[in-house]
Symmetry: none
């Protein structure tokens, strides 16, 4: 199933969600709903559910902030928390507030890694986020399998609703695969081509009297070689650098080098 | 030092930053700047720098969206990219766009893990974020050690500026217990020292007639700068390379350059 397809059947069972379902419980500002829909679109999380949005639905402020995200038009609205969560096997409650109840507390990263395991086995996972001012009601938190807590500074813990969704959305996507390997150089220069560069540089520096006293040549060259070797160079870059050396020494015909012996 | 203390001394050297410095390059909307300041406060990242904000500074829209974050009042404004980055040894460019240049590409997670290693060794790390519409200019991306790219859906990649900052801010905080990954450069050159090298090289190449036709200068310099920026250089290596440039052009008195006019 194309995860970006909007859900058409509002009354029947929802299709299985290959990503967590984001559920905003009594959200207040349309702008936040829209911004949430936007960042869900950015991280390819298709399904947004709204429980009793304060200002009703649809909401023009949400439309604007969604910046064209396909997630907004596909958003489903429910009257009750029970209705919105009925088909979810797993619920995570996003809250920074300790609730005075015993509940596993997970980081965003841990929660999304677990979510992936649940989803891979066919379960539906709901990520719950509460109203801007009051957060999630206790009834919602109680029904969650775990609390998802973000590492906010207790001195300034008031995280914007859409920002919290965005952080969790990113954690979902970031956990998808092993970190991308170091970007490969295209057409990396061979060792022989690198040696050509080093030799060219050393010859010209030698001619210029750079190595003084001469015994320091190996160590000085070692340090210069290391600069280029550690990052690596593409074939084109080797050609460019050799052109630089040539230009600096010869000046493309604009200057003649006259030796004082 | 309390990371939440505002910087008081605008003219003297900045105090060491125990977190990355977030640098917004030509940000457009005050709302985004404020939202960025807010989420930085949430994740205890104290230092925000603004380069030539489109609507000037201060900005009432920023004040509102910052929701009381201490980061906003402490934000520093710079006229130029060079000024804002001069004291940073390491720069990450946040962009989703490939730039047609060879540069390491890191996830947000990887970048912040590396940032922590740099910061623990006393280096200052700048995280660059570009204008809402155009992103970061090429000159900024070239000067970065690596590109930080977020795993957005290519079909809907337009991530809000503050949201991008928030995701990276959270990655910083979330990675607090991750292990340090890689070999550190000793006494890494600051961005200002790197600029000195680039300028020296460009001047000498220009004098040598290397840039032909002249319109190709920016692109050719961009590629040369990238070679040195991506691996990074120590202060000693910058000195050595400047000595190399000088030796190749002047020949340590062993040769006189005679111009053919």
């Amino acid at each position: 199933m194309n995860p970006a397809e909007p859900l058409r059947d509002e009354t029947g069972p929802a299709q299985s969600a290959p990503a967590p379902v984001f559920i905003l419980v009594a959200p207040q500002l349309g702008e936040n709903i829209g911004a949430c829909a936007r960042v869900m679109g950015n991280f390819a999380i298709p399904e947004l559910r709204l429980v009793a949005p304060r200002d009703g639905w649809p909401n023009p402020a949400a439309q604007t902030m969604a910046a064209g995200s396909p997630v907004l038009d596909a958003a489903r609205v429910f009257d009750t928390f029970e209705g919105a969560t009925a088909d979810c096997q797993v619920l995570f409650a996003t809250t920074a507030r300790p609730r005075g109840m015993v509940k596993p507390v997970l980081t965003g990263r841990e929660a999304m890694v677990r979510a992936r395991t649940h989803i891979d086995s066919g379960e539906r996972v709901g990520g719950l986020c509460g109203a801007e001012k009051s957060g999630l009601p206790n009834e919602a938190v109680t029904r969650a399998n775990a609390i998802l807590t973000l590492p906010v500074d207790p001195a300034f813990a008031s995280l914007n609703l859409a920002m919290a969704c965005g952080v969790v959305a990113h954690e979902w996507r970031a956990g998808e695969s092993a970190p991308a390997p170091f970007e490969m150089l295209e057409d990396r220069a061979s060792a022989a081509e690198m040696e050509g560069l080093y030799g060219h540089l050393q010859d010209e520096l030698d001619r210029a009297g750079f190595f003084y006293p001469p015994e320091k040549t190996p160590l000085m060259m070692q340090n210069l070689i290391n600069i280029f070797a550690r990052g690596g160079l593409s074939q084109q870059e080797v050609r460019t650098l050799r052109g630089v050396i040539k230009a600096l020494t010869i000046g493309r015909g604009k200057a003649r080098v006259v030796r004082d012996d």
